[in-house]
Symmetry: C2
Subunit: 422 residues, 2 copies
């Protein structure tokens, strides 16, 4: 193989070998022992609060000196309450049902062979994230509960904080006699290590990037290891001619304005030409809620506050109080618009016509397709998964909100009594 | 994006766009219509027998002139019987249960939202294969039955044959009013197109290489698109101290000698030190069956025909009548040997001790782990899947024998009555 090995590949080879050994132990660890380790990590994080806060104060000071934006500093900042939330989060992960060992299917063959397909951990998960130090605890705990070892690489601006959190977690994990290398943190701020993670075939089984688009795009483009992630959440709500006006208005406003910065926020509202009577009230509600509303020409006269949409609006994820609005011709027009401009994340139809709803649910090729509900439900917690490692718009392995089950794979067990193949 | 586009990328962009359109149609096509198209393709292949045989005669002549090996020429060669087998194979694919539309899970949330997880096609599958022209029919039909469009790229030495088969298939498909681009064949022998397929992110959703190790290794190393494949099948049989001698002997001989060239053939036999009394009979049976047997030093004196194994034997997939044999210390020794030298494909334990069997089944990290059965059962047909697109040793999406279900993914449907998120 003609691969140039640099220093960071050697770092990764070391981390990867240790992770593989830990993964072998974790795969054979019973649920109760994994849960005890996660709870012990939570307790250790609580106990290490002063050290974590001190490390965080240092990171914050360096961040301010380096001129980090207010938003970045807010993500980086920890206080007693955030640390308590992090520890409580781990305890809820420890309480999740363990998918490992579940029998997905079983059957007996003609010749008496008994087949079963059982869930097993994936192995080694790499997490690449940015300034939120809570990912250290959160992602580490999810991987561990699903029986995986993980290698965490957080943002360099949060390194001291992540180190302090990681150190506490490892104390908890080791106290429950699981390997210290079950959760490893890349200790060097050298950015080349991220490159080494992306090419760590055979060492890392799956990469999860958590952070802004720049990070996710780089990981998706450059990784040689399978990636679980979504780049864009260009989510649509389609108001059908047969929509209930009160539901349409409530869903459109909630989908956009409940939280504008999350990936499940509506970015484009599609209004059936047959529902044009509903447009004035919906647009007014969005405008009154403080949203900038960019519309197709036919809607522009409805309110002086409306702005004309341009071509690029249909492909833009605002993550802000801005929405684009287009008139479309029925459910077919909506499905076509979504096929051209959507990002296969989350889309919703509002209609009281069941057949139209089923048509939309079948035709829209997104990880999550809703009927008469807000796109903001695109969340592992709302799905009842208890937690999520992320939302995937990839088509293989796992789609939509990914929790413990998405951190597992399966193997076939075949039990015989001496069968040979003819 | 800083990507250099060459001619083959443009070819691929065109094929990919047509495939995506076809995939949209296929995803909405009912089972009966897909089955009818596959049966019509089978019928058209039968009807086109003379044209296919004529094309094949041309490929064979060119192959002989180019000095292709006898083995390659045999793979390339078609006769009436092989064409009939190909058509019958398509008919059995048409009879398989359709996974698309299956509800994998459903539940209702606290707030009354009804969640379901349903199987949908993956989209566009790329198949890269070598000289076996039957893959054109076989892989094309499997993709179509699972609702996927496919792009086929066969070996240039079989191009005329593949073209004739493909043309017949398309006639059948179009006759049942499905898109001609449901199954596309790359018509140019230019090898650069394979490179374009490997980097066709967004155009091809999954690549399946079918052929020798050189091809699979290249695809696994270079592809930027997810790959479903296995490179090596270094399969083990472990004869435990508590093995029934008759079962151990029958399984060892069958696992190695039934067919030596398939990926599920045993390459290494591990014998528990506590089962050393069984070694002479097993080794004699293998030798008598015409197998070359390479053993660890402690076994060498058992038979003058035995040869000493060298370090590289433990990592070699012979695909031939050769086996390496090592003495190990119990099930832990066997699991350790397999962890170090195995290829995560298929491994078997022979023992009458249930606890030891369960220990092996749990600890061996392979797609298929058997107890008291031959490794030669590693096959979609033997698993009852009716057909297989391949066997995967990857850890994500699908492991082991992959049939229609592995050619699907899922999406979440969420049905509400106006719910918004608090």
């Amino acid at each position: 193989m003609n691969v140039s090995l640099d220093e960071s590949d050697l770092v990764m080879a070391r981390l990867g070998a240790a992770a593989r050994d830990a993964a072998r132990v974790l795969a054979a660890t019973p649920t109760a022992a994994k849960a005890a380790a996660v709870r012990a990590a939570a307790e250790a994080i609580r106990a290490a609060s002063p050290a974590i806060l001190a490390a965080n104060a240092g990171d914050m000071e360096a961040g301010r000196a380096a001129g980090l934006s207010g938003a970045l500093l807010d993500r980086l900042m920890l206080d007693e309450k955030r640390i308590a939330g992090m520890a409580a989060g781990l305890e809820s992960v420890a309480a999740l049902p363990d998918p490992v060992g579940d029998t997905i299917a079983e059957w007996t063959g003609r010749n008496g062979l008994r087949f079963s397909r059982v869930r097993v951990p994936i192995g080694v998960i790499g997490i690449v994230y940015e300034s939120r130090p809570n990912v250290t605890a959160d992602a580490g705990a999810l991987c561990l509960m699903a029986g995986n070892a993980c290698i965490l690489r957080g943002g360099s601006e949060a390194l001291a904080t992540s180190r302090a959190i990681h150190q506490a977690m490892v104390e908890g994990i080791v106290g429950e006699r699981l390997p210290a290398t079950a959760v490893q943190l890349v200790e060097t701020p050298d950015r080349a290590v991220v490159g080494a993670m992306l090419r760590a075939q055979g060492l890392i089984d799956m990469l999860v990037p958590r952070g802004g688009k720049g990070l996710v795009a780089r990981v998706q483009t450059d990784a040689r290891v399978p990636v679980l992630a979504h780049l864009d959440g260009i989510c649509h709500v389609y108001v059908d001619g047969a929509a209930d006006p009160a539901k349409a208005l409530a869903i459109a406003v909630n989908a956009k304005m409940r939280r504008t910065g999350i990936c499940g926020a509506m970015e484009t509202l599609l209004i059936d030409r047959a529902a044009s009577a509903q447009a004035p009230a919906i647009l007014k509600a969005l405008l009154d809620a403080g949203c900038a509303v960019r519309v197709t020409a036919d809607l522009l006269a409805l309110d002086p506050r409306l702005e004309p949409a341009t071509d690029s609006d249909w492909d833009t994820e605002y993550l802000d109080a801005i929405v684009s609005v287009a008139t479309v011709d029925g459910v077919e027009g909506a499905c076509h618009h979504i096929a051209v401009h959507g990002s296969h994340h989350t889309d919703s139809i509002v209609t009281d016509d069941e057949a139209t709803a089923e048509r939309f649910l079948a035709a829209v090729d997104s990880a999550i397709v809703l009927h008469n509900a807000s796109t903001q439900f695109a969340d592992g917690g709302e799905f009842g998964f208890g937690a999520e490692i992320g939302i995937s718009t990839g088509r293989l392995h796992a789609r939509g909100p990914v929790a413990l089950e998405g951190l597992t794979t399966y193997k076939y067990l075949v039990r015989g009594n001496g069968q040979v193949r003819l």
